[in-house]
C-alpha cells in the first residue's frame, strides 16, 4: 500500500490518536482505571463491543478509512471491552481507492500494515479484536476475519464459507476462495468464538458448525445488517451474536433479543454478558420464580423474554452457579428439555 509506506504502523496510530484526542475533548468517558472495571468481573463475564461503518462510506482512501474507524474504536475503548468487532473488510469496503487483491491481502501469521494497526489497538486496550480483511495463505485469497488477541498476535483466522459469486469470479480474474465448511472455533481467555461474514448468513451450515462446537459468541462482520436473521440464530444456537456491519452494530442475547445496538448519534454498541447465562422455558420456571426470588434475591438476574418465550437466568454472585440453582429447583435448560422430550418421543413413535 503505497500511501501507507511512509507512515510506520505506530506513527500512524499515534497520528490517529492525536486526531481522536481532539474528538473526545469534552465527552464524559471515564478513565478506565478510575472506573476500576476489571476488579468487578464475574466468572464467565465478557464485555462485548462493536462499531458499525455507517457514515464512514463511501471513502476515498484506505488511510482515511482506517483513521476514521480507529476514532470510532477509541470512542468505545474506555468500556475496556474484552473483544471488539469490526465490519467486513473494514479497511477496503466502499473505499474508492483501486488496489489488487495481492496488494490488499494480509498475511495470516505475520502482522501486516492493517493487521499491525489493529494489533497496536489490541495491545493498548488489552482487548481481542475481530479484524476482517482480505488475507492470503497457501496461494489462495480469502475474505477473512482474523482474531487478534490481547497481546496483539493473530490468534486465528476464519475464511468466509459462502462468498458471493462476484467475489469468487471477478472481472480482473483474481477472486477469493470459499472457506472450508468445518472451520474450528477459536479458544479465547473468555470462551469459544466463531465468526460469520455477510452472505454466509444465508446458509444454515455456517451457524450449525458453530453450534455443534459450542461457540459462546459468534461475531458477524458484514456489509448488510442481517436484521432478524441474527436474532433467529442467536436463539437457535443459544449463544450471543455480535454484529458489526455497514448499517448497524448490535449485541444479541442468547434469548434472541437485542441487548444493545448502535444508533443515529452513537455508532457503536456494547454489553456485558455472561457465558454462564442459561435459557429455560417459561413453563414450569414461571411457577418456581417466587421461591427462587425469596431464596436468592439479587444474586441472580432473571429476565422473561416474552417475544421469544424464554426466561434467562444468570448469576451475579461469584459463589453461585446457575447450574446448581437449576438442579435445586428441578429446572431444565431448553436444550436439556428438548433432548429429554426427543428421547420420550422416539420411545413411543411407531
Amino acid at each position: 500500500m503505497n500511501h501507507l509506506k511512509n507512515v510506520s504502523r505506530r506513527n500512524f496510530l499515534r497520528q490517529s490518536s492525536i486526531g481522536l484526542g481532539a474528538g473526545i475533548v469534552g465527552t464524559s468517558l471515564p478513565s478506565c482505571k478510575a472506573a476500576g472495571l476489571n476488579d468487578k468481573k464475574l466468572p464467565g463475564e465478557i464485555r462485548l463491543a462493536s462499531v458499525d461503518l455507517k457514515g464512514l462510506w463511501p471513502d476515498t482512501t484506505i488511510e482515511s478509512r482506517i483513521k476514521r474507524i480507529l476514532a470510532r474504536m477509541n470512542d468505545i475503548a474506555g468500556m475496556q471491552p474484552d473483544i471488539l468487532c469490526l465490519p467486513e473488510l473494514f479497511d477496503t469496503i466502499w473505499v474508492n481507492e483501486e488496489k489488487s487483491l495481492a496488494e490488499l491481502a494480509q498475511d495470516e501469521k505475520e502482522l501486516g500494515t492493517i493487521t499491525g494497526i489493529i494489533s497496536d489497538f489490541a495491545i493498548k486496550n488489552n482487548s481481542y479484536v475481530i479484524c476482517p480483511v482480505y488475507t492470503k495463505t497457501q496461494g489462495h485469497y480469502y475474505n477473512s476475519s482474523l482474531l487478534i488477541d490481547r497481546k496483539g498476535n493473530i490468534a486465528g483466522a476464519y475464511h468466509k464459507m459462502h462468498p458471493t459469486k462476484t467475489e469468487i469470479i471477478t472481472r480482473k480474474g483474481e477472486g477469493v476462495a470459499a472457506g472450508a465448511l468445518d472451520q474450528p472455533v477459536i479458544e479465547t481467555d473468555f470462551g469459544k468464538v466463531g465468526m460469520v461474514i455477510c452472505y454466509d448468513a444465508n446458509w444454515l451450515d455456517v451457524w450449525d458448525n458453530w453450534k455443534n462446537q459450542g461457540a459462546d459468541v459468534i461475531f458477524f462482520s458484514s456489509a448488510f445488517p442481517g436484521g432478524r436473521i441474527l436474532n433467529y440464530y442467536a436463539m437457535r444456537n443459544s449463544c450471543y451474536i455480535v454484529s458489526s456491519t455497514g448499517g448497524d452494530a448490535r449485541i444479541i442475547d442468547k434469548s434472541g433479543n437485542d441487548l444493545d445496538s448502535s444508533s443515529t448519534f452513537v455508532r457503536y454498541a456494547w454489553a456485558t454478558v455472561n457465558t454462564g447465562k442459561v435459557c429455560v422455558g417459561t413453563w414450569p420456571t414461571r411457577d418456581r420464580l417466587p421461591e427462587i426470588f425469596r431464596k436468592y434475591g439479587d444474586k441472580l438476574r432473571i429476565k422473561v423474554w416474552e417475544s421469544t418465550d424464554v426466561i434467562t437466568i444468570e448469576s451475579l454472585d461469584p459463589g453461585l452457579k446457575v447450574s446448581d440453582v437449576l438442579k435445586e429447583f428441578k429446572l431444565q435448560t431448553n436444550d436439556e428439555l428438548l433432548k429429554e422430550s426427543e428421547e420420550a418421543q422416539n420411545q413411543y413413535r411407531l
Partner: protein, 322 residues
C-alpha cells in the same frame, strides 16, 4: 370490520385465512361449554367468507377441567365423532376448510391431531403432532387411560383447492426440521394449532421457509407473511384474525435483483408490488393483477428466486472451495 368479500372479485391466488385465539375461553368446566364458546367466536369470521379457519390445539379439551379418559375423548379418524361432525357442519355451511385440532385414535393408537375438513365437511387428511411433550407420551401422566403416540418425523402436506398446506401442533415448533420438510414438499401456507404462542419463532420459520404461517393458540392468533412480518394479530377487542394472503408472490434476495426493480415497476406499475426488507436484504414480489404471473415476470427480467440464487451460489462456492 371489512365488508363481505365476493369471491369473484378476488385475485386468482388470493386466499382468505382465518384463525381463532382461545384467550378468554379458559379455564373451562366442560367440553360442551368450550365448543359452544368456540362456535360463537367463529361466527365473527363468517362475514369474510374465509377459505379456511384454523382452531387451537385440542380445541375441545385444552384447559377444560372435565375429567375424561383418552378413550372417551379421542375421535375416530375414519368415523367422525361429535366434535369433528360439529365442525364439519360449519365447514359445509360456510363452504370453507377447517383445521380441527382434537385428540384422535387410529389402529389402537392415540394422537394429538389436526384434522383437515374440506368445504364439503369431509376429512381430507390428518396430521399427527410429531413432538408431543414427555408428559403427553408417557401413559397415565398427562392423559388418563393411555398416552399420545408421536407422529411421523416426515409430516404430510395437503393439497387444497387454493394451494398446498402443512399443519403443525404446539411443541413441533421447537424442531426446525419439520418445518423445512414441509417447505421441500411444497407447502405454501402452514397452519399452527397450539396452546403456546411461540411468538417470534413462528416469524422466523416463515422467512426461513418462505411460506405464510397462520397460528391459532391459547394466547393469540396471527397471520404471518413469508417475510416473517405479522400481517394481522388478535387483541383485546377481537380474539380472531381474518385477512387475505396472496400466493402469487415470490421471495427473492435483494442483491443484485434490486437493480431491476425500477424497470419492473415502470413496466407493470401498480400491478406488481415489492416489499423490501432492508436489514435482511430480502424482498417479496407480488402480482396484483389476475393476468400477471410472478414467475413470468422473474423470468422476463432474469431474476432468480431466493432458493435458485442460493443453489447457484452454492455450486460456485463448492467449485472454488479449498
Amino acid at each position: 370490520m371489512a365488508k363481505m368479500v365476493q369471491k369473484e372479485n378476488r385475485l386468482p391466488r388470493e386466499v382468505w385465512v382465518a384463525a381463532l385465539s382461545l384467550k378468554g375461553l379458559w379455564p373451562e368446566k366442560t367440553m360442551e361449554k368450550r365448543m359452544k364458546d368456540v362456535l360463537k367466536r367463529m361466527e365473527s369470521l363468517y362475514a369474510f367468507e374465509p377459505d379456511i379457519i384454523c382452531l387451537p390445539e385440542t380445541v375441545n379439551t385444552s384447559w377444560v377441567n372435565e375429567s375424561k379418559t383418552l378413550e372417551e375423548v379421542a375421535e375416530d379418524e375414519n368415523n367422525p365423532g361429535p366434535v369433528t361432525s360439529m365442525l364439519a357442519d360449519v365447514a359445509r355451511q360456510q363452504n370453507c376448510y377447517i383445521v380441527c385440532p382434537i385428540l384422535t385414535k387410529n389402529q389402537g393408537h392415540y394422537y394429538n391431531s389436526s384434522i383437515l375438513l374440506n368445504r364439503q365437511g369431509k376429512i381430507d387428511g390428518v396430521f399427527h403432532k410429531i413432538h408431543p411433550t414427555t408428559t403427553e407420551c408417557v401413559p397415565e401422566t398427562y392423559y388418563k387411560g393411555g398416552g399420545i403416540t408421536p407422529g411421523s418425523l416426515s409430516p404430510p402436506v395437503f393439497k387444497t383447492d387454493f394451494g398446498t398446506i402443512g399443519l403443525q401442533i404446539c411443541m413441533d415448533a421447537a424442531w426446525f426440521e419439520n418445518w423445512h420438510y414441509m417447505k421441500e414438499d411444497g407447502a405454501e401456507v402452514v397452519f399452527f394449532a397450539s396452546q403456546a404462542s411461540y411468538k417470534n419463532l413462528l416469524s422466523h420459520y416463515a422467512w426461513l421457509n418462505h411460506y405464510y404461517i397462520i397460528s391459532s393458540t391459547g394466547e393469540d392468533a396471527r397471520i404471518i407473511d413469508m417475510t416473517g412480518e405479522v400481517i394481522s394479530s388478535d387483541g383485546e377487542f377481537a380474539r380472531w384474525v381474518c385477512a387475505p394472503i396472496n400466493l402469487e408472490k415470490a421471495f427473492i434476495h435483494i442483491w443484485p435483483q434490486v437493480q431491476k426493480f425500477d424497470d419492473i415497476q415502470k413496466k407493470y406499475g401498480r400491478k406488481i408490488h415489492f416489499n423490501i426488507n432492508h436489514l435482511e436484504n430480502w424482498a417479496t414480489i407480488e402480482s396484483l393483477h389476475p393476468d400477471i404471473k410472478v414467475k413470468e415476470v422473474l423470468k422476463e427480467f432474469g431474476l432468480p428466486s431466493y432458493d435458485e440464487q442460493i443453489r447457484e451460489a452454492t455450486e460456485v462456492q463448492d467449485k472454488y472451495r479449498v
